[in-house]
Protein backbone atom coordinates (compact mmCIF):
# COMPACT_ATOMS: atom_id res chain seq x y z
CA UNK A 1 0.00 0.00 0.00
CA UNK A 2 1.40 3.35 -0.92
CA UNK A 3 0.72 6.43 1.08
CA UNK A 4 -1.08 9.19 -0.70
CA UNK A 5 -1.13 12.72 0.58
CA UNK A 6 -4.25 14.70 -0.12
CA UNK A 7 -2.50 17.98 0.52
CA UNK A 8 -4.69 18.77 3.50
CA UNK A 9 -2.49 16.99 5.99
CA UNK A 10 -4.83 14.04 5.84
CA UNK A 11 -3.13 10.80 4.95
CA UNK A 12 -5.02 8.24 2.95
CA UNK A 13 -3.95 4.88 1.67
CA UNK A 14 -4.59 3.13 -1.59
CA UNK A 15 -6.95 0.23 -1.31
CA UNK A 16 -5.94 -2.97 -3.05
CA UNK A 17 -8.97 -4.60 -4.53
CA UNK A 18 -8.98 -8.10 -5.93
CA UNK A 19 -11.28 -8.27 -8.95
CA UNK A 20 -11.77 -11.88 -9.88
CA UNK A 21 -11.00 -14.66 -10.68
CA UNK A 22 -14.61 -15.19 -9.65
CA UNK A 23 -16.40 -11.98 -10.43
CA UNK A 24 -19.66 -11.46 -12.32
CA UNK A 25 -18.15 -9.21 -14.99
CA UNK A 26 -14.81 -10.68 -15.81
CA UNK A 27 -16.26 -12.90 -18.57
CA UNK A 28 -14.64 -16.08 -17.39
CA UNK A 29 -11.86 -16.43 -14.92
CA UNK A 30 -9.75 -13.31 -15.16
CA UNK A 31 -8.18 -11.50 -12.32
CA UNK A 32 -7.18 -7.90 -11.80
CA UNK A 33 -5.24 -6.56 -8.89
CA UNK A 34 -6.66 -3.08 -8.65
CA UNK A 35 -5.21 -0.29 -6.56
CA UNK A 36 -7.87 2.30 -5.95
CA UNK A 37 -8.11 5.63 -4.27
CA UNK A 38 -11.75 5.45 -3.26
CA UNK A 39 -13.53 4.66 -6.49
CA UNK A 40 -10.77 5.91 -8.78
CA UNK A 41 -8.31 3.35 -10.06
CA UNK A 42 -4.62 4.09 -9.78
CA UNK A 43 -3.45 0.84 -11.25
CA UNK A 44 -5.07 -2.31 -12.56
CA UNK A 45 -2.75 -5.23 -13.16
CA UNK A 46 -4.32 -8.05 -15.16
CA UNK A 47 -3.49 -11.55 -14.08
CA UNK A 48 -4.32 -14.24 -16.62
CA UNK A 49 -3.71 -17.94 -16.91
CA UNK A 50 -6.57 -19.35 -14.87
CA UNK A 51 -7.99 -21.05 -17.93
CA UNK A 52 -4.79 -22.27 -19.52
CA UNK A 53 -5.46 -25.63 -21.14
CA UNK A 54 -2.19 -25.94 -23.06
CA UNK A 55 -3.90 -26.15 -26.41
CA UNK A 56 -0.62 -25.36 -28.15
CA UNK A 57 1.11 -28.29 -26.48
CA UNK A 58 -1.79 -30.60 -27.30
CA UNK A 59 -1.27 -29.63 -30.94
CA UNK A 60 2.13 -31.28 -30.91
CA UNK A 61 0.65 -34.51 -29.64
CA UNK A 62 -2.30 -34.84 -32.05
CA UNK A 63 -2.51 -35.79 -35.68
CA UNK A 64 -3.42 -33.00 -38.08
CA UNK A 65 -7.01 -34.12 -38.42
CA UNK A 66 -7.29 -34.93 -34.77
CA UNK A 67 -6.33 -31.46 -33.66
CA UNK A 68 -9.29 -29.69 -35.28
CA UNK A 69 -11.75 -30.37 -32.40
CA UNK A 70 -9.24 -29.02 -29.92
CA UNK A 71 -9.06 -25.70 -31.71
CA UNK A 72 -12.77 -25.24 -30.91
CA UNK A 73 -11.80 -24.79 -27.31
CA UNK A 74 -9.42 -21.97 -28.03
CA UNK A 75 -12.40 -19.65 -28.21
CA UNK A 76 -15.68 -21.31 -27.51
CA UNK A 77 -17.72 -18.26 -28.44
CA UNK A 78 -16.28 -18.32 -31.94
CA UNK A 79 -15.21 -21.90 -32.40
CA UNK A 80 -15.73 -21.81 -36.16
CA UNK A 81 -12.96 -19.28 -36.64
CA UNK A 82 -10.46 -21.25 -34.62
CA UNK A 83 -11.32 -24.25 -36.79
CA UNK A 84 -10.87 -22.22 -39.91
CA UNK A 85 -7.51 -20.80 -38.95
CA UNK A 86 -6.01 -24.19 -38.31
CA UNK A 87 -7.58 -25.80 -41.39
CA UNK A 88 -6.34 -22.98 -43.59
CA UNK A 89 -2.84 -23.34 -42.18
CA UNK A 90 -2.86 -27.11 -42.78
CA UNK A 91 -4.23 -26.63 -46.30
CA UNK A 92 -1.60 -24.05 -47.11
CA UNK A 93 1.13 -26.38 -45.88
CA UNK A 94 -0.25 -29.45 -47.62
CA UNK A 95 -1.33 -27.63 -50.82
CA UNK A 96 -4.95 -28.72 -50.47
CA UNK A 97 -7.48 -26.95 -52.66
CA UNK A 98 -10.85 -26.40 -51.00
CA UNK A 99 -13.81 -26.78 -53.38
CA UNK A 100 -15.82 -23.57 -53.88
CA UNK A 101 -18.92 -24.92 -52.19
CA UNK A 102 -16.80 -25.84 -49.20
CA UNK A 103 -15.51 -22.27 -49.01
CA UNK A 104 -19.03 -20.88 -49.12
CA UNK A 105 -20.15 -23.28 -46.41
CA UNK A 106 -17.24 -22.09 -44.32
CA UNK A 107 -18.06 -18.45 -44.78
CA UNK A 108 -21.74 -19.00 -43.98
CA UNK A 109 -20.91 -20.92 -40.84
CA UNK A 110 -18.30 -18.37 -39.81
CA UNK A 111 -20.48 -15.35 -40.34
CA UNK A 112 -23.34 -16.95 -38.42
CA UNK A 113 -20.85 -17.59 -35.68
CA UNK A 114 -19.68 -13.99 -35.82
CA UNK A 115 -23.25 -12.78 -35.35
CA UNK A 116 -23.63 -15.12 -32.37
CA UNK A 117 -20.36 -13.96 -30.86
CA UNK A 118 -21.12 -10.27 -31.33
CA UNK A 119 -24.55 -10.82 -29.81
CA UNK A 120 -22.85 -12.15 -26.70
CA UNK A 121 -20.46 -9.21 -26.73
CA UNK A 122 -23.25 -6.66 -27.07
CA UNK A 123 -25.52 -8.43 -24.61
CA UNK A 124 -22.98 -8.87 -21.86
CA UNK A 125 -21.97 -5.28 -22.42
CA UNK A 126 -25.49 -4.24 -21.49
CA UNK A 127 -25.42 -6.53 -18.51
CA UNK A 128 -22.15 -5.12 -17.26
CA UNK A 129 -23.56 -1.64 -17.48
CA UNK A 130 -26.58 -2.84 -15.52
CA UNK A 131 -29.27 -3.45 -18.15
CA UNK A 132 -30.10 -7.12 -18.10
CA UNK A 133 -32.95 -7.08 -20.58
CA UNK A 134 -30.80 -6.48 -23.69
CA UNK A 135 -28.60 -9.38 -22.65
CA UNK A 136 -31.52 -11.77 -22.67
CA UNK A 137 -32.87 -10.32 -25.89
CA UNK A 138 -29.47 -10.93 -27.46
CA UNK A 139 -29.33 -14.46 -26.15
CA UNK A 140 -32.80 -15.11 -27.54
CA UNK A 141 -31.54 -14.36 -31.05
CA UNK A 142 -28.35 -16.30 -30.44
CA UNK A 143 -30.54 -19.25 -29.57
CA UNK A 144 -31.91 -19.20 -33.12
CA UNK A 145 -28.35 -19.22 -34.43
CA UNK A 146 -27.54 -22.14 -32.17
CA UNK A 147 -30.50 -23.98 -33.67
CA UNK A 148 -29.22 -23.23 -37.16
CA UNK A 149 -25.75 -24.38 -36.19
CA UNK A 150 -27.18 -27.55 -34.77
CA UNK A 151 -28.86 -28.13 -38.08
CA UNK A 152 -25.66 -27.42 -40.01
CA UNK A 153 -23.18 -29.40 -37.96
CA UNK A 154 -24.92 -31.08 -35.05
CA UNK A 155 -23.29 -29.02 -32.34
CA UNK A 156 -24.37 -25.85 -30.63
CA UNK A 157 -21.19 -24.47 -29.10
CA UNK A 158 -17.99 -26.29 -30.04
CA UNK A 159 -18.82 -27.00 -33.63
CA UNK A 160 -15.95 -29.05 -35.03
CA UNK A 161 -17.52 -28.39 -38.41
CA UNK A 162 -14.54 -27.64 -40.60
CA UNK A 163 -12.22 -30.30 -41.92
CA UNK A 164 -8.88 -29.94 -43.59
CA UNK A 165 -10.01 -29.56 -47.19
CA UNK A 166 -13.52 -28.30 -46.67
CA UNK A 167 -16.39 -28.80 -44.29
CA UNK A 168 -17.72 -31.88 -42.58
CA UNK A 169 -21.29 -31.66 -43.81
CA UNK A 170 -22.78 -29.80 -46.72
CA UNK A 171 -25.35 -27.12 -45.94
CA UNK A 172 -28.69 -28.33 -47.25
CA UNK A 173 -30.96 -26.08 -49.34
CA UNK A 174 -33.70 -26.13 -46.69
CA UNK A 175 -31.17 -24.97 -44.11
CA UNK A 176 -30.28 -22.12 -46.44
CA UNK A 177 -33.96 -21.19 -46.45
CA UNK A 178 -34.01 -21.13 -42.67
CA UNK A 179 -30.90 -18.98 -42.56
CA UNK A 180 -32.61 -16.53 -44.89
CA UNK A 181 -35.68 -16.58 -42.64
CA UNK A 182 -33.46 -15.86 -39.68
CA UNK A 183 -31.84 -12.93 -41.47
CA UNK A 184 -35.25 -11.47 -42.34
CA UNK A 185 -36.14 -11.77 -38.70
CA UNK A 186 -32.85 -10.56 -37.29
CA UNK A 187 -32.07 -7.41 -39.24
CA UNK A 188 -34.98 -5.38 -37.81
CA UNK A 189 -34.08 -6.64 -34.34
CA UNK A 190 -30.77 -4.78 -34.49
CA UNK A 191 -32.89 -1.66 -34.62
CA UNK A 192 -34.56 -2.81 -31.45
CA UNK A 193 -31.19 -3.09 -29.71
CA UNK A 194 -30.42 0.42 -30.83
CA UNK A 195 -33.64 1.71 -29.31
CA UNK A 196 -33.18 -0.22 -26.10
CA UNK A 197 -29.46 0.20 -25.57
CA UNK A 198 -27.43 2.17 -28.10
CA UNK A 199 -29.56 5.30 -27.92
CA UNK A 200 -30.20 5.06 -24.22
CA UNK A 201 -29.07 8.25 -22.51
CA UNK A 202 -27.66 6.52 -19.46
CA UNK A 203 -25.83 3.98 -21.59
CA UNK A 204 -24.25 6.71 -23.69
CA UNK A 205 -23.29 8.72 -20.62
CA UNK A 206 -21.64 5.67 -19.14
CA UNK A 207 -19.57 4.87 -22.23
CA UNK A 208 -18.87 8.02 -24.20
CA UNK A 209 -15.36 9.40 -23.57
CA UNK A 210 -14.63 6.54 -21.20
CA UNK A 211 -11.38 4.60 -21.56
CA UNK A 212 -10.32 6.18 -24.84
CA UNK A 213 -7.70 4.22 -26.78
CA UNK A 214 -5.83 6.34 -29.27
CA UNK A 215 -4.74 5.10 -32.67
CA UNK A 216 -1.10 5.05 -31.60
CA UNK A 217 -1.81 3.02 -28.50
CA UNK A 218 -3.95 0.64 -30.49
CA UNK A 219 -1.05 0.00 -32.86
CA UNK A 220 1.56 -0.20 -30.12
CA UNK A 221 -0.47 -2.75 -28.23
CA UNK A 222 -1.53 -4.48 -31.44
CA UNK A 223 -5.24 -4.30 -30.84
CA UNK A 224 -7.09 -6.14 -33.56
CA UNK A 225 -10.55 -6.51 -34.98
CA UNK A 226 -13.38 -4.29 -33.74
CA UNK A 227 -11.21 -2.76 -31.02
CA UNK A 228 -8.69 -1.55 -33.59
CA UNK A 229 -11.40 -0.32 -35.94
CA UNK A 230 -13.05 1.60 -33.11
CA UNK A 231 -9.80 3.51 -32.70
CA UNK A 232 -10.02 4.65 -36.28
CA UNK A 233 -7.81 2.21 -38.16
CA UNK A 234 -9.76 0.85 -41.07
CA UNK A 235 -8.37 -2.63 -41.13
CA UNK A 236 -10.19 -5.83 -41.73
CA UNK A 237 -8.36 -8.95 -42.78
CA UNK A 238 -11.37 -10.13 -44.74
CA UNK A 239 -10.92 -7.11 -46.98
CA UNK A 240 -7.21 -6.31 -46.75
CA UNK A 241 -5.57 -9.74 -46.82
CA UNK A 242 -8.44 -11.60 -48.42
CA UNK A 243 -8.87 -15.26 -47.80
CA UNK A 244 -11.55 -17.81 -48.67
CA UNK A 245 -14.29 -16.24 -50.85
CA UNK A 246 -14.31 -12.82 -49.19
CA UNK A 247 -12.91 -11.08 -52.31
CA UNK A 248 -16.11 -12.00 -54.17
CA UNK A 249 -18.32 -10.50 -51.49
CA UNK A 250 -19.28 -6.91 -51.03
CA UNK A 251 -19.26 -5.51 -47.52
CA UNK A 252 -18.18 -2.49 -45.58
CA UNK A 253 -15.71 -2.19 -42.75
CA UNK A 254 -17.24 -0.08 -39.97
CA UNK A 255 -14.86 2.27 -38.23
CA UNK A 256 -15.31 4.10 -34.96
CA UNK A 257 -16.20 7.73 -35.66
CA UNK A 258 -16.62 9.04 -32.15
CA UNK A 259 -20.40 8.96 -32.56
CA UNK A 260 -21.12 10.12 -29.04
CA UNK A 261 -17.73 11.24 -27.81
CA UNK A 262 -14.13 10.68 -28.72
CA UNK A 263 -12.93 8.29 -31.36
CA UNK A 264 -11.83 5.08 -29.71
CA UNK A 265 -13.94 5.35 -26.58
CA UNK A 266 -15.95 2.48 -25.15
CA UNK A 267 -19.08 3.53 -27.01
CA UNK A 268 -17.27 3.30 -30.34
CA UNK A 269 -16.06 -0.18 -29.55
CA UNK A 270 -19.64 -1.12 -28.76
CA UNK A 271 -21.15 0.51 -31.78
CA UNK A 272 -18.66 -0.96 -34.23
CA UNK A 273 -19.89 -4.37 -33.15
CA UNK A 274 -23.51 -3.40 -33.67
CA UNK A 275 -22.70 -2.29 -37.19
CA UNK A 276 -20.72 -5.43 -37.87
CA UNK A 277 -23.81 -7.45 -37.04
CA UNK A 278 -25.53 -5.90 -40.02
CA UNK A 279 -22.48 -6.32 -42.26
CA UNK A 280 -22.36 -10.00 -41.39
CA UNK A 281 -26.02 -10.31 -42.32
CA UNK A 282 -25.18 -8.71 -45.66
CA UNK A 283 -22.34 -11.18 -46.25
CA UNK A 284 -24.62 -14.07 -45.36
CA UNK A 285 -27.27 -13.00 -47.85
CA UNK A 286 -24.70 -12.75 -50.64
CA UNK A 287 -23.29 -16.16 -49.76
CA UNK A 288 -26.74 -17.73 -49.84
CA UNK A 289 -27.29 -16.25 -53.30
CA UNK A 290 -23.95 -17.18 -54.78
CA UNK A 291 -23.56 -20.65 -53.34
CA UNK A 292 -22.24 -22.91 -56.13
CA UNK A 293 -22.94 -26.61 -56.50
CA UNK A 294 -20.36 -29.30 -56.11
CA UNK A 295 -18.63 -31.16 -53.34
CA UNK A 296 -18.00 -29.49 -50.02
CA UNK A 297 -14.97 -31.49 -49.02
CA UNK A 298 -11.80 -32.14 -51.00
CA UNK A 299 -10.17 -35.53 -50.92
CA UNK A 300 -7.54 -35.43 -48.23
CA UNK A 301 -5.45 -38.36 -47.12
CA UNK A 302 -6.45 -39.93 -43.82
CA UNK A 303 -2.83 -39.79 -42.78
CA UNK A 304 -2.36 -36.18 -43.67
CA UNK A 305 1.35 -35.43 -43.86
CA UNK A 306 2.07 -31.96 -45.20
CA UNK A 307 5.64 -31.38 -46.37
CA UNK A 308 8.01 -29.71 -43.95
CA UNK A 309 7.54 -25.99 -43.76
CA UNK A 310 5.83 -23.30 -41.83
CA UNK A 311 3.06 -20.80 -42.35
CA UNK A 312 1.35 -17.95 -40.60
CA UNK A 313 -2.36 -17.65 -41.32
CA UNK A 314 -4.43 -14.65 -40.32
CA UNK A 315 -8.19 -14.70 -40.19
CA UNK A 316 -10.67 -12.13 -38.99
CA UNK A 317 -12.33 -13.63 -35.94
CA UNK A 318 -14.98 -11.72 -33.94
CA UNK A 319 -12.25 -10.67 -31.52
CA UNK A 320 -9.97 -9.70 -34.35
CA UNK A 321 -6.92 -11.07 -36.05
CA UNK A 322 -6.50 -14.70 -35.11
CA UNK A 323 -3.10 -15.91 -36.19
CA UNK A 324 -2.08 -19.51 -36.60
CA UNK A 325 1.64 -20.08 -36.85
CA UNK A 326 1.97 -23.74 -37.78
CA UNK A 327 5.24 -25.56 -38.33
CA UNK A 328 5.33 -28.94 -39.98
CA UNK A 329 8.27 -31.32 -40.04
CA UNK A 330 6.68 -33.62 -42.59
CA UNK A 331 5.30 -36.03 -40.04
CA UNK A 332 1.79 -36.99 -39.01
CA UNK A 333 1.88 -34.48 -36.16
CA UNK A 334 2.25 -30.72 -36.33
CA UNK A 335 5.66 -29.73 -35.05
CA UNK A 336 4.43 -26.52 -33.48
CA UNK A 337 1.07 -24.80 -33.39
CA UNK A 338 0.91 -21.28 -32.16
CA UNK A 339 -2.43 -19.52 -31.77
CA UNK A 340 -2.25 -15.77 -31.55
CA UNK A 341 -5.54 -14.37 -30.34
CA UNK A 342 -7.08 -10.95 -30.21
CA UNK A 343 -8.06 -11.05 -26.56
CA UNK A 344 -4.49 -11.64 -25.42
CA UNK A 345 -3.26 -8.34 -26.75
CA UNK A 346 -6.49 -6.56 -25.82
CA UNK A 347 -5.95 -7.68 -22.27
CA UNK A 348 -2.44 -6.26 -22.14
CA UNK A 349 -3.68 -2.75 -22.87
CA UNK A 350 -5.86 -2.61 -19.74
CA UNK A 351 -2.75 -1.93 -17.70
CA UNK A 352 -2.12 1.18 -19.79
CA UNK A 353 -5.67 2.53 -20.03
CA UNK A 354 -6.98 1.92 -16.55
CA UNK A 355 -5.22 4.56 -14.39
CA UNK A 356 -7.59 7.39 -13.61
CA UNK A 357 -10.86 5.70 -14.49
CA UNK A 358 -13.40 4.49 -11.94
CA UNK A 359 -14.15 0.94 -10.86
CA UNK A 360 -17.38 0.97 -12.84
CA UNK A 361 -15.47 2.15 -15.90
CA UNK A 362 -13.01 -0.70 -15.59
CA UNK A 363 -15.94 -3.08 -15.96
CA UNK A 364 -17.07 -1.12 -19.01
CA UNK A 365 -13.55 -1.24 -20.43
CA UNK A 366 -13.28 -5.01 -20.03
CA UNK A 367 -16.68 -5.46 -21.60
CA UNK A 368 -15.94 -3.08 -24.45
CA UNK A 369 -12.73 -4.89 -25.35
CA UNK A 370 -14.82 -8.07 -25.46
CA UNK A 371 -12.06 -10.14 -23.93
CA UNK A 372 -12.80 -13.78 -23.58
CA UNK A 373 -10.87 -15.70 -20.93
CA UNK A 374 -10.40 -18.99 -22.84
CA UNK A 375 -9.03 -17.08 -25.77
CA UNK A 376 -6.49 -15.24 -23.64
CA UNK A 377 -5.14 -18.33 -21.93
CA UNK A 378 -5.69 -20.97 -24.59
Amino acid sequence: MSEVSTGTGLHTEDMTLNVGPQHPSTHGVLRFVVKTDGEVINEAIPDVGYLHRSIEKIGEKCTWHGYVPYTDRADYLAAMFANQGFCMAAERLGNVEVPPRGEYCRVIACELNRVASHLIAVGTFGQDIGAITPFLHALRERESINDLMEEICGARLTYNYLRIGGVGYDIKPETCGRIAAFLDHFEPIVDEYNRLLSNNKIFIERLANVAVISKEDALQYNLVGPNLRASGVQWDIRRDIPYSVYPELDFEVPVGQGERGTQGDSYDRYYVRIRELLESCRILRQCLDKMPDGPALAKVARKFKPPAGETYVRIEAPRGDMGYYVVSDGSEYPYRVRIRTGSFTAMSIIDKISPGIMVADLIALIASLDVDAPEIDR
Binding site: V48, G49, H52, S54, E56, K57, R92, D217, L219, Q220, Y221, N222, V233, W235, D240, I241, G309, E310, T311, Y312, R314, D321, G323, Y325, V327, Y335, R336, R338, R340, F344, T345, M347, S348, K352, D377, R378
Partner: protein, 168 residues
Protein backbone atom coordinates in the same frame (compact mmCIF):
# COMPACT_ATOMS: atom_id res chain seq x y z
CA UNK B 1 7.92 -3.83 -51.93
CA UNK B 2 8.83 -7.48 -52.04
CA UNK B 3 10.34 -9.45 -49.20
CA UNK B 4 13.64 -9.31 -51.03
CA UNK B 5 13.59 -5.52 -51.08
CA UNK B 6 12.67 -5.36 -47.41
CA UNK B 7 15.61 -7.59 -46.67
CA UNK B 8 17.94 -5.45 -48.76
CA UNK B 9 16.73 -2.33 -47.02
CA UNK B 10 17.28 -3.85 -43.56
CA UNK B 11 20.77 -4.93 -44.59
CA UNK B 12 21.47 -1.39 -45.68
CA UNK B 13 20.30 0.02 -42.33
CA UNK B 14 21.94 -2.58 -40.09
CA UNK B 15 24.73 -4.29 -41.97
CA UNK B 16 25.83 -6.55 -39.14
CA UNK B 17 24.08 -9.63 -37.96
CA UNK B 18 21.39 -9.86 -40.62
CA UNK B 19 21.37 -12.84 -42.88
CA UNK B 20 19.82 -16.18 -43.76
CA UNK B 21 17.16 -14.75 -46.05
CA UNK B 22 14.75 -17.33 -47.45
CA UNK B 23 12.28 -16.39 -50.16
CA UNK B 24 11.10 -19.85 -51.17
CA UNK B 25 8.70 -20.37 -48.24
CA UNK B 26 5.13 -18.93 -48.11
CA UNK B 27 6.16 -16.33 -45.55
CA UNK B 28 9.67 -15.10 -46.41
CA UNK B 29 11.93 -14.56 -43.43
CA UNK B 30 15.42 -13.50 -42.56
CA UNK B 31 17.54 -14.21 -39.56
CA UNK B 32 19.07 -11.80 -37.10
CA UNK B 33 21.79 -12.24 -34.51
CA UNK B 34 20.38 -12.18 -30.95
CA UNK B 35 22.48 -9.20 -29.97
CA UNK B 36 21.21 -7.13 -32.91
CA UNK B 37 17.48 -7.73 -32.62
CA UNK B 38 16.60 -4.46 -30.91
CA UNK B 39 18.50 -2.42 -33.45
CA UNK B 40 16.93 -4.27 -36.38
CA UNK B 41 13.44 -3.96 -34.93
CA UNK B 42 13.83 -0.23 -34.39
CA UNK B 43 14.99 0.12 -37.98
CA UNK B 44 12.04 -1.91 -39.21
CA UNK B 45 9.62 0.25 -37.28
CA UNK B 46 11.08 3.68 -37.91
CA UNK B 47 12.35 3.55 -41.47
CA UNK B 48 10.03 5.42 -43.81
CA UNK B 49 10.18 2.75 -46.46
CA UNK B 50 9.41 -0.08 -44.05
CA UNK B 51 7.06 1.28 -41.36
CA UNK B 52 6.42 -1.97 -39.56
CA UNK B 53 4.29 -0.40 -36.85
CA UNK B 54 2.74 -3.63 -35.73
CA UNK B 55 4.17 -6.69 -34.09
CA UNK B 56 1.56 -9.25 -35.01
CA UNK B 57 3.03 -12.12 -33.17
CA UNK B 58 6.07 -13.10 -31.21
CA UNK B 59 6.60 -16.74 -30.49
CA UNK B 60 9.24 -19.39 -30.49
CA UNK B 61 9.92 -22.85 -31.85
CA UNK B 62 12.10 -25.37 -30.09
CA UNK B 63 14.59 -27.13 -32.38
CA UNK B 64 16.53 -29.58 -30.22
CA UNK B 65 18.43 -31.04 -33.18
CA UNK B 66 20.17 -27.76 -33.91
CA UNK B 67 20.21 -27.02 -30.18
CA UNK B 68 18.48 -23.70 -30.72
CA UNK B 69 15.24 -22.06 -29.78
CA UNK B 70 14.06 -20.00 -32.66
CA UNK B 71 12.28 -16.80 -31.59
CA UNK B 72 9.96 -15.72 -34.39
CA UNK B 73 8.70 -12.18 -34.95
CA UNK B 74 5.79 -11.64 -37.33
CA UNK B 75 5.69 -8.03 -38.36
CA UNK B 76 3.04 -6.27 -40.34
CA UNK B 77 2.70 -2.85 -41.82
CA UNK B 78 -0.82 -1.49 -42.21
CA UNK B 79 0.48 1.26 -44.43
CA UNK B 80 2.21 -0.78 -47.10
CA UNK B 81 0.40 -4.09 -46.33
CA UNK B 82 3.66 -5.91 -45.99
CA UNK B 83 4.51 -8.83 -43.86
CA UNK B 84 7.98 -9.94 -42.89
CA UNK B 85 9.14 -12.64 -40.53
CA UNK B 86 12.24 -12.17 -38.44
CA UNK B 87 13.83 -15.15 -36.81
CA UNK B 88 16.43 -15.24 -34.11
CA UNK B 89 18.26 -18.42 -33.15
CA UNK B 90 19.16 -18.47 -29.47
CA UNK B 91 21.19 -21.10 -27.72
CA UNK B 92 18.97 -23.65 -26.03
CA UNK B 93 21.09 -24.00 -22.93
CA UNK B 94 21.53 -20.30 -22.30
CA UNK B 95 18.53 -18.78 -24.03
CA UNK B 96 18.95 -15.03 -23.82
CA UNK B 97 17.85 -12.29 -26.12
CA UNK B 98 17.27 -8.57 -25.88
CA UNK B 99 13.70 -7.43 -25.35
CA UNK B 100 11.82 -5.47 -28.00
CA UNK B 101 9.37 -4.13 -25.43
CA UNK B 102 10.39 -0.53 -26.04
CA UNK B 103 9.86 -0.96 -29.78
CA UNK B 104 6.37 -2.43 -29.57
CA UNK B 105 4.57 -2.34 -26.22
CA UNK B 106 2.66 -5.50 -26.98
CA UNK B 107 5.94 -7.41 -26.88
CA UNK B 108 5.73 -7.17 -23.10
CA UNK B 109 3.10 -9.88 -22.86
CA UNK B 110 4.30 -11.89 -25.83
CA UNK B 111 7.76 -12.10 -24.33
CA UNK B 112 6.36 -13.08 -20.97
CA UNK B 113 4.52 -15.90 -22.68
CA UNK B 114 7.62 -17.09 -24.51
CA UNK B 115 9.58 -16.91 -21.26
CA UNK B 116 6.84 -18.85 -19.53
CA UNK B 117 6.58 -21.65 -22.06
CA UNK B 118 10.10 -21.80 -23.52
CA UNK B 119 12.33 -20.33 -20.86
CA UNK B 120 13.86 -17.68 -23.07
CA UNK B 121 15.19 -14.84 -20.96
CA UNK B 122 14.47 -11.41 -22.38
CA UNK B 123 17.12 -9.07 -21.14
CA UNK B 124 15.87 -5.64 -20.21
CA UNK B 125 12.26 -6.72 -19.91
CA UNK B 126 10.40 -4.68 -17.32
CA UNK B 127 8.32 -7.44 -15.76
CA UNK B 128 9.50 -10.90 -16.73
CA UNK B 129 7.20 -13.20 -14.77
CA UNK B 130 5.35 -16.33 -15.73
CA UNK B 131 2.05 -15.33 -17.31
CA UNK B 132 0.00 -18.44 -18.03
CA UNK B 133 1.48 -21.00 -15.69
CA UNK B 134 1.67 -20.74 -11.90
CA UNK B 135 4.71 -18.94 -10.54
CA UNK B 136 6.09 -22.11 -8.98
CA UNK B 137 5.81 -24.29 -12.07
CA UNK B 138 8.92 -26.32 -12.84
CA UNK B 139 10.12 -26.50 -16.41
CA UNK B 140 9.12 -24.94 -19.72
CA UNK B 141 6.30 -26.99 -21.26
CA UNK B 142 6.70 -26.15 -24.93
CA UNK B 143 10.31 -27.32 -25.03
CA UNK B 144 10.40 -30.68 -26.71
CA UNK B 145 12.25 -32.34 -23.84
CA UNK B 146 9.80 -31.14 -21.20
CA UNK B 147 8.92 -33.83 -18.71
CA UNK B 148 5.77 -33.33 -16.75
CA UNK B 149 6.22 -33.24 -13.00
CA UNK B 150 4.67 -36.17 -11.25
CA UNK B 151 2.89 -33.96 -8.84
CA UNK B 152 2.18 -30.29 -8.46
CA UNK B 153 1.59 -28.88 -4.96
CA UNK B 154 1.09 -32.39 -3.67
CA UNK B 155 -1.58 -33.18 -6.28
CA UNK B 156 -0.84 -35.98 -8.68
CA UNK B 157 -0.83 -34.91 -12.32
CA UNK B 158 -1.79 -38.44 -13.34
CA UNK B 159 -5.54 -38.90 -13.61
CA UNK B 160 -7.08 -42.17 -12.53
CA UNK B 161 -8.69 -43.94 -15.51
CA UNK B 162 -12.37 -43.16 -15.77
CA UNK B 163 -13.21 -46.71 -16.79
CA UNK B 164 -11.68 -49.64 -14.92
CA UNK B 165 -8.96 -51.40 -16.85
CA UNK B 166 -10.85 -54.65 -17.39
CA UNK B 167 -13.87 -52.91 -18.90
CA UNK B 168 -11.94 -51.06 -21.58
Amino acid sequence: MTAKEIYERVRELCPDGVGGFDEEVPEPFFKVEPARIQEVCKALRDDDALKFHVLSDLTAVDLPKENVIQVVYHLYSYDSRQQIVVKVDVDRDAARIATVEDVWKVANWFEREVFDLFGVLFEGHSDLRRILLPEDWVGYPLRKDFVEQEEYDGISTERAPLVPENLR
